[in-house]
């Protein structure tokens, strides 16, 4: 079994030291000499790449970790660099110096954060507990919120919410960079008197004040950690009405130059994601009631020949009562057609097993339709003799 997974060699105190020991060491492997390794990293300057730079312009470059000594330089040598010594976890030394160091580290980290374009909606800590004033949202959570909101047609609420988070982040970062005496005092008290620790069951941020809370609250442990992301509770309360027409996020969000929002946000996306029933209506109890949301355009079970090689003995059939494996010829159902998967929402009844070559999907993307065809779909009625042979785009279906 695992070597001492069940032995608590380290008690909590040592655990702390363990963390603090990170990054104090300049690590140089004795076997590694400069230049004896593989190609240097091929990072290129990102001045002109597609993604641009997020975040504000911020102050200058500040202290760069990797500008220091060659051991820390990431690109010139293929070496791992640890958290550089002055940052983070060094707790040795006098209390006064210690505090100053901690604050310096925070300042530097804020400068770097602002100029690096990295994800803004992240917690931050240079000690055990997260620093107040930052919310932790993963890109997936924001993305889901976008998708859910989009389905309802009004993206402005989402955009406003994101903008609000962004400005909260910016002002917090600015405060910490500037570090006026008031902030300094508040920070020090926070750092030296951390809130109850993880062992008590929480990481401190359990307020569910949700979005829309205005000023960062230094006294408490910071912004509300959001309640579980459900479409209903994830409310971006729009403080003010007008940013212009809905659906067009015209306000600069700091993510770089804002691309024009598509007026038909769902056009190219087909009908694949309709996350309206995110509030689960799924009846769990009976699997039978589970709609076979199978892409049954691929045919019945017998068409699913899992055995790829010539020996058709699939070995799975027996214990699961599947039908006898069909001859290898059935694999031609999938063939090499580029639209092998078709569209993502295939009504169970439609086209069972018939993946025709001409109609690779139930819907056509608009880009694949000629102007005439598009006009036909847009018109109230088809004109006889001009009815398109291709299926309509998904977003043109009137339900």
């Amino acid at each position: 079994m695992i070597i001492p997974l069940n032995q608590h060699i380290f008690n909590i105190t040592q655990q702390n030291n363990l963390c603090e020991g990170f990054g104090n060491r300049v690590w140089v492997h004795p076997n590694q000499q400069k230049g004896s390794y593989i190609q240097p990293s091929s990072f290129s300057s990102h001045g002109s790449d597609d993604w641009g730079r997020g975040g504000g312009g911020g102050g200058g470059g500040g202290r760069r970790d990797n500008a220091k000594s060659s051991e820390f330089s990431f690109s010139s040598q293929n070496r791992f660099s640890e958290l550089s010594a002055p940052s983070t976890f060094d707790r040795r030394g006098m209390t006064g110096d210690d505090d100053d160091k901690k604050l310096e580290v925070i300042q530097t980290d804020m400068e770097i954060w602002e100029s690096s374009g990295q994800w803004c909606f992240s917690c931050y800590s240079n000690s055990k507990t997260p620093l107040s004033g930052f919310t932790d949202f993963s890109p997936e959570e924001l993305r889901l919120e976008y998708y859910s909101t989009r389905a309802s047609g009004d993206l402005q609420g989402y955009v406003n919410g994101v903008n609000q988070l962004l400005s909260q982040w910016r002002s917090r970062v600015q405060e910490l960079k500037v570090m006026n005496p008031a902030i300094r005092t508040a920070l020090l008290s926070e750092l030296n008197n951390p809130a109850p620790q993880a062992s008590s069951g929480g990481f401190g941020l359990t307020n569910t004040t949700g979005f829309g809370s205005s000023a960062p609250d230094f006294g408490s442990r910071g912004f509300g950690a959001l309640a579980p992301v459900q479409a209903s509770s994830f409310s971006f309360a729009a403080p003010s009405g007008g940013f212009g027409s809905s659906g067009a996020p015209s306000a600069p969000t700091g993510f770089g130059s804002a691309l024009a929002a598509p007026t038909q946000p769902l056009s190219g996306f087909g009908s694949s994601s309709v996350p309206v029933p995110l509030a689960s209506t799924f009846p769990f109890a009976a699997p039978a009631s589970d709609k076979p949301a199978v892409a049954s355009g691929f045919g019945t079970a017998s068409g699913f020949n899992f055995a790829s090689t010539a020996n058709t003995g699939s070995g799975f059939g027996s214990s699961f009562g599947a039908e006898a494996p069909v001859a290898a010829g059935s694999s031609s159902v999938f063939g090499q057609t580029s639209g092998g998967f078709g569209t993502t929402t295939v009504p169970p009844a439609a086209g069972t097993g018939s993946v025709s070559v001409a109609l690779n999907s139930l819907f056509s993307p608009e880009s694949k339709l000629a102007p005439d065809e598009l006009n036909q779909f847009k018109a109230k009625r088809f004109t006889l003799g001009q009815i398109p042979l291709k299926p309509p785009p998904a977003n043109m279906l009137v339900v």
Partner: protein
């Protein structure tokens, strides 16, 4: 003449995909998987060794999970597809390769029987399920689901009620399982190790070695093939290597920077990208990281050196995985929302690439 054999990486036979020389969507000229999903790919998983051949599963934000067969000559054949009613965030295989488990924003997890091509719901949470793993213990088998509802639940797939539900301090952001160890990283830099022998229980809460949001985690094993630690990636272009019980934690545990822009130009601040996924090579024990910068890198954590960094793709790389014998490295190129909604282009094609991994992931020093 396996293109994925260790005898070498044959680029012949991939000309059918027609990538031009300066094609930034596939600068590494790797094999393109046919019929990729219509929206960003959230997860990739290869079939276990119990299945002959290689089958790849990919879940996406188009609410679907797709299965391809990857043939030895590099051809990919779409096999089947299942749907959720919300974006799919994670997927995994059962150990015998007969089932695929999928986790979705629709707060459910499904069990997909590949033989019958039927899927049924086997788990329910109060929030989107971010991580799903199959656990095979000597005395039990079950599914582990980690959700944004701050719970970690275990399901035996036959009952609508979980076998066990563990409370977490925060939303589950990522998890990994290598029996008898499981690691879950949560929001607010939470990090919990579970031990799975007899029944799952919390083993230790760890102070995060990283300063920013946790994004991905992968367990690694020691020379005796037992799980002994994990690699943890954050949104700040950094990975921490953490051993559970090392002889000398201060020396043995470390972090390294990755997925950052050119660092030699020290007058301008560098761009820092999120590490979207980490995968360990099943044979060599070396690891791959993929990032928002659209690159993948291979690393040797024992020699503490980088083995390779790819050219930059024109989109972030959102997921990666190795096949069971480590000959194939799959990575997905699609938008990861790292720059918000303005950079989301639903029209942009998403890709899954396959690369011969037998040679490039060999450790630097033979010990």
């Amino acid at each position: 003449m396996s293109i994925f054999g260790s005898s070498g990486f044959g680029t012949g036979g991939t000309g059918v995909f027609g990538s031009t020389a300066a094609d930034s969507h596939n600068p590494m000229k790797d094999i393109e998987v046919t019929s990729p999903p219509d929206d960003s790919i959230s997860c990739l998983a290869f079939s276990p060794p119990s299945l002959p051949g290689n089958f790849l599963i990919g879940g996406s934000w188009a609410n679907d999970v797709r299965c391809w067969e990857v043939q030895d000559n590099g051809q990919t054949v779409p096999k089947a597809q299942q749907m959720h009613t919300g974006p799919v965030l994670d997927a995994c295989w059962s150990d015998d390769g007969s089932k695929v488990f999928t986790a979705s924003c629709d707060k459910t997890a499904k069990m997909w029987d590949l033989n019958s091509n039927q899927a049924m719901q086997i788990a329910q949470h109060d929030g989107p399920i971010k991580a799903i793993h199959w656990i095979k213990a000597p005395n039990y088998s079950c599914i582990m689901t980690g959700s944004w509802d701050k719970t970690l639940k275990f399901w035996d797939t036959r009952s609508p009620n979980p076998m066990m539900s563990l409370q977490m301090p925060e939303r589950c952001y990522c998890a990994d399982v290598v029996y008898p160890m499981a690691v879950v990283a949560t929001a607010e830099r939470g990090l919990i190790v579970y031990q799975l022998e007899n029944q799952p229980s919390e083993f230790r809460r760890i102070d995060s070695p990283l300063k920013h949001q946790h994004r991905c985690v992968a367990i690694f094993k020691d020379k005796q093939n037992k799980p002994t630690g994990f690699a943890l990636g954050s949104i700040e272009g950094r990975v921490a290597i953490h051993y559970i019980n090392p002889p000398n934690p201060a020396k043995d545990n470390f972090t390294f920077k990755c997925h950052r822009s050119n660092g030699t130009n020290t007058t301008t601040p560098q761009d820092i990208y999120a590490v979207n996924a980490i995968s360990f090579h099943p044979v060599h024990g070396t690891l791959a990281t993929v990032g928002s910068d659209g690159r993948f890198s291979f690393w040797d954590k024992d020699a503490r050196t980088k083995l390779k960094t790819s050219e930059q793709l024109d989109q972030p790389i959102t997921a990666c995985c190795f096949n069971h014998n480590g000959n194939i490295f799959a990575y997905a190129s699609s938008y990861d929302w790292s720059k918000g909604h303005e950079y989301y282009n639903p029209q942009k094609k998403n890709y899954i690439f396959l690369r011969n991994a037998a040679e490039e992931l060999k450790p630097r020093n033979k010990k």
